[in-house]
Symmetry: C2
Subunit: 162 residues, 2 copies
């Protein structure tokens, strides 16, 4: 196999792994439904709705990190990233978070499936050109790998609500 | 950047993602200790020791799946993969499972860090040559991506024991 197609295949596999986790997450949220998502995944731990909002916020934050525009819902960061579950009494509804999830996913997907290999292997926005020259693994695709594992981590917790 | 180094970088990133999860898992098991690992991650769910054994068994099973020899501990499959937690009254001790984890990790690591790009992108043992010709993503590295996400999923659950 020639090396160009090797790199293309590797990028495709990595994007497919994100899609697998992300599609599973979306289906899981639908399966669980509103009532179960209000519960804690274990006694005293995060609720399903908090983890849903957290994952929407983290996905949304990939847009500026990957240099693909501003966050669509910057207000989610305060509630679902900067603060823990119990710190905020009023949260967006499950229906609202699901709608935001779909919108963020659509925008991310349009980039994920059109970015070239060179674009994937270019630096993300949180690393300087100087550091990137020394550490070429600090690229966009590595952000996606990291976010895929982060999502899998929380899916494991959400599964406990089933 | 030339394409050969692109593929090499992509393989390196994928192996590094496994190492990150796997090292985190190993440290988490040490941090939790024997007593906490006996508990269920949520009421009525798997115990920590079951998830530990499950992850050792799944890692061990990568050896034949990747064509790198037989399983070191084939007896783990019955208890930790084929059967659920509550089906088996007597399980190996945490100390024994931790020792097996270290041995399996050492063997896997020796392969992970020496395999060439072509070896990583060759088929795994559960796909036929005919199917692999049509579906080149069914390669060894894709098994590693899948197992990394599987581990992240269970780490999310083990974290609830903290």
């Amino acid at each position: 196999m020639e090396t160009t197609s090797q790199a293309a295949l590797l990028v495709k596999m990595t994007v497919a792994a994100w899609d697998t986790q992300n599609n599973y997450f979306t289906k899981l949220i639908d399966t669980l439904g509103n009532e179960q998502l209000q519960k804690e995944v274990a006694p005293g731990r995060n609720t399903g709705v908090y983890l849903l909002g957290h994952l929407v916020a983290v996905s949304d934050a990939m847009l500026p990190l990957l240099g693909w525009g501003d966050k669509l819902y910057p207000e989610l960061e305060e509630v679902f990233i900067k603060n823990p579950d119990k710190a905020t009494a009023v949260k967006p509804s499950v229906a609202e978070l699901k709608e935001k999830l779909h919108t963020v996913n659509a925008k991310l997907s349009s980039h994920f499936h059109t970015a070239t290999i060179d674009q994937w292997l270019d630096r993300h926005m949180a690393v300087s050109q100087e550091d990137f020259a020394k550490e070429p693994h600090r690229n966009r695709l590595n952000v996606l790998i990291s976010r895929t594992n982060h999502m899998a981590n929380h899916i494991g917790q959400l599964l406990l609500l089933k």
